[in-house]
Each structure stands twice: as structure tokens, then as C-alpha cells.
């Protein structure tokens, strides 16, 4: 069952308590990614976005222009020009090149989602597993706090925090970090409870390991794979919510480009130039599809172990 894992188990919640990170396993996982079509397509899309982000970020620091035109410069072409060889995604109302603007905005969505997911993963695993092993008040408090967070739509809460902090990519990242970790803590708690009474944990306890040592040394490695799979499926959701905040004008200030902001700024021109809001919207969708396919594939593969 190493390779050719078909995507038959479309279960939404990844649950595989026995999955354990090790070099052998990682090699086997990588080889099954190669034989899983969906995961491969997803991984390729993610790779293109990641590479673009890194290149744009590095060249941005070095002040090298890699896009065909300066993304901020106006009148590099006629205003509202249709897609052509000179401007493959057309130009906007100020004569700026849309393709250059979209490329330049790539690191925004990418870095926000990675920071938010990385933070939630770490905080969630620590709080969740401590709650599971300690029980008592901490456990109860965690469950009730997550109940509350589950009842408020993430976007509404992020909007409220975002407006309190003021617009900006950093502030939106903070807003998303505040609201994003509770599901991770809950999932980590559930996974940690599953393994809490397994023999190797008991063995570690009997051999005199302290609670912290058991959690860090035995519990975290065991629950990490399940959480990583959940996280990989969740990256797309962060991109979508961030795009929403950006669409509402909370992320970047004009004239800096950002995908969500571009859709909302260009939708006024959709009667005369429908491609203007279409391209940035399509790119958001493509990025999310890439992460969903990669996450789906990863889950199928890991569940086959």
C-alpha cells in the first residue's frame, strides 16, 4: 500500500494516530506523491507560486525588476487595454500592466498564509496536547473558548480585529493569527487524547519521564502528521479569508498591488473590461486549488500508511 493510493477516502478530518515522522516514511510519502496525479498537480502549482514569491521577494530587496513593467508605474500602455502580447493580462484604468501587478502581489498571500498556519500549528499543538494530558481547568477552558470561536465566522472576527488594528498586511496577519489557532488546539487535543493511554506513553511515564518530556518527546511527534495534513488543507482557507480582507480594503494601501484589492478596485470596470477583475480573481482561485489538491493528495497518501 505504499504507492498508488487512490483518493477514495475523501474524509474531511484526517485521523491517523499511528502516523509517525521518520526518514523512511518521508521517502515513502515522497514516492507516493509522484504516483498520485492530483497531489502532483497541486504540488506543481504550489511550487510555481512559492518560487514566484521567493523570486519577487528577493529581487524586491535587491531592487531588480523582474516583471515586464514596473507594477506601480502608470501609462506603460493605453488605459484599459485588452490582453495582448505586450500586456498579456491587459492594462488597468491608469495604464498599469495587470500581469506585473499580479506577479508582484504573489508574496503577500503566500507569506500571510504560511505565517498564520505555522503559528496556529505550533500554538495549537502545544496548547492542545497540554490540555489533553493535564485535563482539568485548562482543558475545560480551551474547549469552551474554541466553542465560542466556532460560533463566529472567521471573516467577521478578523474584520473586527483588523479594523481595530488598522489596515496593513502585518495587522491582518496578526488578526488572522489571533483567530486561527483554536481549531488546531482542538484537533491536537483530540489526537493527543487518542494516544494518551497507549502503551508507549505508559511506558515513558513508568520509566520516570515528566509530563513535559512525554508531551515533547512522544506525544507531539505522534500527532504532528495529522495536524500537518489538516494544515495543508487549511492554507487555501487562509488565502481565501485574506483575499476577502484585502477585497474589503483592509490589507494593502493603494497603489501597492494585492489580489483581493485588485478585484475590488477593478470591478467598477467589469462592463467595459471584464478581464480586469477576472485575472486577479482567477489567480486567487488557482492558488487555493493548488493547496487543496496537494492537501487532498497528502491526506490520501498518509492515510494509506
Amino acid at each position: 500500500m505504499l504507492s498508488g493510493a487512490k483518493s477514495d477516502d475523501d474524509d474531511l478530518s484526517p485521523s491517523n494516530p499511528s502516523a509517525y515522522l521518520s526518514a523512511d516514511r518521508m521517502r515513502a510519502v515522497l514516492s507516493s506523491i509522484r504516483s498520485n496525479g492530483g497531489a502532483l498537480i497541486g504540488a506543481s502549482i504550489v511550487a510555481v507560486f512559492a518560487l514566484t514569491s521567493i523570486v519577487v521577494f528577493v529581487t524586491g530587496i535587491l531592487h531588480i525588476q523582474i516583471t515586464p513593467y514596473n507594477p506601480l508605474k502608470q501609462d506603460v500602455g493605453p488605459p484599459l487595454a485588452a490582453p495582448s502580447l505586450a500586456h498579456i493580462m491587459g492594462t488597468d484604468q491608469l495604464g498599469r500592466d495587470v500581469f506585473s501587478r499580479i506577479v508582484t502581489a504573489t508574496p503577500n498571500d503566500f507569506s500571510v498564509s504560511l505565517v498564520v498556519i505555522g503559528f496556529s500549528l505550533i500554538i495549537g499543538m502545544i496548547i492542545g496536547s497540554y490540555a489533553a494530558f493535564n485535563g482539568g481547568l485548562l482543558d475545560e477552558a480551551l474547549m469552551r473558548v474554541t466553542d465560542i470561536f466556532f460560533a463566529i465566522p472567521a471573516l467577521v472576527l478578523a474584520m473586527a480585529i483588523g479594523i481595530a488594528l488598522g489596515p496593513g498586511i502585518t495587522n491582518m496577519t496578526i488578526a488572522l493569527m489571533i483567530i486561527w489557532w483554536p481549531p488546531y488546539a482542538r484537533l491536537a487535543r483530540g489526537e493527543a487524547l487518542k494516544i494518551a493511554h497507549q502503551n508507549y506513553i505508559e511506558a515513558a511515564r513508568l520509566s520516570g519521564s515528566g509530563r513535559s518530556k512525554i508531551i515533547v518527546g512522544h506525544a507531539l511527534p505522534n500527532i504532528s502528521l495529522t495536524l500537518i495534513v489538516y494544515a495543508s488543507l487549511d492554507v487555501g482557507t487562509v488565502i481565501l479569508v485574506y483575499a476577502g480582507l484585502s477585497y474589503l480594503g483592509l490589507a494593502v494601501r493603494p497603489p501597492l498591488p494585492d489580489w483581493g484589492e485588485m478585484v475590488s478596485a477593478y470591478q467598477d470596470f467589469m462592463l467595459s473590461s471584464p478581464w480586469l477583475p477576472f485575472f486577479p480573481g482567477l489567480i486567487i482561485a488557482l492558488g487555493v486549488i493548488g493547496f487543496s489538491m496537494l492537501g487532498d493528495g497528502l491526506r490520501d497518501i498518509l492515510e494509506a500508511f
Partner: protein, 337 residues
């Protein structure tokens, strides 16, 4: 019964938490709310600004404001909405909620029907071209931001083919029905005002579809995977061994049991739809709560933000509760107690 009572008790606790968290958050918003509410007249008439600040308890410490808010809330008083000319928030909610419910209900029906039909096809013809194209279709839907789907629908169905109206709740030239239930479509139906009913339904289609196209994929996905589990189960093997037709086995034994997982999922769909309404109602200038949230946030309308968040939370909590109860009713194996 004790299970339902306990869930209700928990729901009230969650609701208090929601009120507290949103209260703290919305009252730490940057900027001076008086300036946002009164505009230029705040600086022109400092006495007026001060009178407003005192009238709405803005000069008191946060916990005192919280006390006023909670006591008001218990009397059904959500305060006044500065972004709507200081009309009571309950009035604004009363005017906007019915419209949001109209598109939400439409979107839920479409997502579940579309999701179940495509989910059945996908699981019946697994690994065929049909299964794969359905997967591509729902993946595109789930992955697209709702504002993008809304814009694409608007460009195609309104601007290109002129099939459906671009926005609003109904044709303003048509006489609206009398208010009976507060929900215009239902009122039109009761009154027999079919001109309005037709127009209102036409105006619901695009925003509703924009929401449903983003969520039906979740139904396809869960139905397909639980069909796969169910069809491997012993009772399906027994049904086959009895010599029942594969069709009967698939629909009567398979689908009926797989539908249980769709029920639990329906509450999750509600949460997603609510997030989407904020964008979709704005794009289609639909006069619902999504649009109210949007304007309230920009205008720093605390009472409005708080009230809409609470109403959204109540909708989500109630749908969670409904899903839990339905789950127990549908599946006799589950006895949560």
C-alpha cells in the same frame, strides 16, 4: 431530552462568550467613534459631540459600558445604529435579516440538491470521466473567493446574456406585498402577488448561486466518501446477498445511510454561507445583513457590528443545534445523552 437541554445550556454559554468577545473587540476599534458618526459637525459643535458621547455612555469605562450593553440586551435593546441615522438596531436587523434569510435558504437548498445529485453520480461512476469532471467542478467552486464567483456570474448572466437582473431585491416598479411574515417572498406568496414573487425570485438566483457554487462541493465530497464507506459495510453485502437489485441496494441501503453525514455537514455550510453574504450582498446591492455589516464596519457603528455578529452567531449556534438533533433522530445508533 436531557441531551437537547444540555446543548441549549451550552449554546447560551457560547452566546455570552460571543457577546463579550465582540464587545471588547469592537470597542477597541481605532479612531474616535463620535467623529465617525457625526462627521464634520463633531468638530464644529464640540458641545453636541460631548452630549452624544455622554448619551451613549462613551465617556464611561469599558466595564460600565459592558454593563449597560448587557442590561439593554436582556431587554431586547441592541442600541441605536449611527450608520443608519440612529435608528434602533433591532429595526435595522428586522429590515435586513429577512433578505439575508431569503438568499441563505435558496443557497442551502441549491448546495444540498446540487451536492447530493453530483455526489451520487460521482460515487456511482467512480474513477470515470464523470467523477473526475465533477471533482474539477467542485474544486474550482470551493477554491474561488465568493466575490470572484459573484463577479463572473454577473458578467456572464447579466452583462453578456441579459438573463437576470444585476442587483437589488426586486423590481422597484412592482408593488411590494403587505408585511405579514416580514419575509418578502413568503408575503408575496401569501398575498398572491405573483408579479413581485417572480421578480424577487429572479433577484435571488444570482446571489444565491454565487454562495451555493462555493459550498456545494463540500456536500459532494462528504457524500462521495461516505458512500464509499457505506457500500463496503456488512449490511450492504447482506442486501446484495439477498439478491436485491444493485440499484435498490445503492439508493435504499447506501444513499439513505450516507445522507447522515450530509446532515451533520449542513451546519458547517451555514457558517460558510454567512461569510459569503458579506461580499455577495455588496456586489449585488442586496439589502440584507451582509451589506449592513459592511457599512457598519466602515462607519465604526459599534451597536451595528455587535448586533450583526450576535445574530450571525445565533444563526450558527441554532443550525449546529438543529444538526445535532437531526443527527440523533435520523441515526438510531447514536444516543447522545
Amino acid at each position: 431530552m436531557s441531551f437537547i437541554l444540555r446543548r441549549l445550556f451550552l449554546a447560551i454559554f457560547v452566546l455570552i462568550g460571543v457577546v463579550t468577545i465582540t464587545f471588547i473587540l469592537s470597542h477597541s476599534l481605532g479612531g474616535d467613534p463620535i467623529v465617525a458618526w457625526l462627521g464634520k459637525s463633531a468638530s464644529l459643535h464640540p458641545a453636541l459631540a460631548k452630549a452624544y458621547a455622554i448619551k451613549y455612555h462613551l465617556t464611561d469605562p469599558l466595564w460600565v459600558q459592558y454593563y449597560y450593553y448587557i442590561t439593554g440586551l436582556l431587554q431586547g435593546n441592541f442600541g441605536f445604529s449611527p450608520s443608519r441615522g440612529f435608528v434602533p438596531v433591532t429595526t435595522v436587523i428586522g429590515q435586513t435579516l429577512p433578505y439575508t434569510l431569503q438568499i441563505e435558504v435558496f443557497a442551502i437548498i441549491v448546495s444540498i440538491v446540487l451536492g447530493v445529485v453530483l455526489g451520487v453520480i460521482a460515487s456511482r461512476y467512480r474513477h470515470t470521466a464523470a467523477d473526475k469532471s465533477i471533482r474539477g467542478f467542485y474544486l474550482a467552486g470551493i477554491s474561488s473567493p465568493s466575490f470572484f464567483i459573484a463577479l463572473v456570474l454577473l458578467i456572464v448572466f447579466t452583462f453578456e446574456f441579459h438573463l437576470l437582473p444585476s442587483g437589488g431585491a426586486a423590481d422597484p416598479t412592482i408593488q411590494a406585498p403587505r408585511i405579514i411574515t416580514d419575509i418578502p417572498i413568503v408575503d408575496a406568496l401569501i398575498e398572491g402577488n405573483f408579479a413581485y414573487l417572480a421578480s424577487a425570485l429572479q433577484h435571488v438566483i444570482l446571489p444565491g448561486m454565487a454562495l451555493a457554487l462555493g459550498t456545494f462541493g463540500v456536500v459532494v465530497r462528504i457524500l462521495r466518501s461516505s458512500m464509499l464507506d457505506v457500500m463496503k459495510s456488512n449490511y450492504v453485502r447482506t442486501a446484495r446477498a439477498k439478491g436485491l437489485k444493485e440499484r435498490t441496494v445503492f439508493f435504499k441501503h447506501g444513499l439513505r445511510n450516507a445522507m447522515i453525514s450530509v446532515i451533520t455537514l449542513s451546519s458547517l455550510i451555514v457558517t460558510w454561507l454567512i461569510t459569503g453574504t458579506i461580499f455577495v450582498e455588496n456586489i449585488f446591492s442586496y439589502p440584507g445583513m451582509g451589506q449592513y455589516v459592511f457599512t457598519a464596519l466602515i462607519a465604526q457603528d459599534y451597536p451595528g457590528i455587535l448586533a450583526t455578529t450576535i445574530v450571525f452567531a445565533i444563526i450558527i449556534i441554532l443550525s449546529n443545534l438543529a444538526a445535532d438533533i437531526l443527527y440523533v433522530i435520523v441515526d438510531p445508533q447514536i444516543r447522545l445523552g
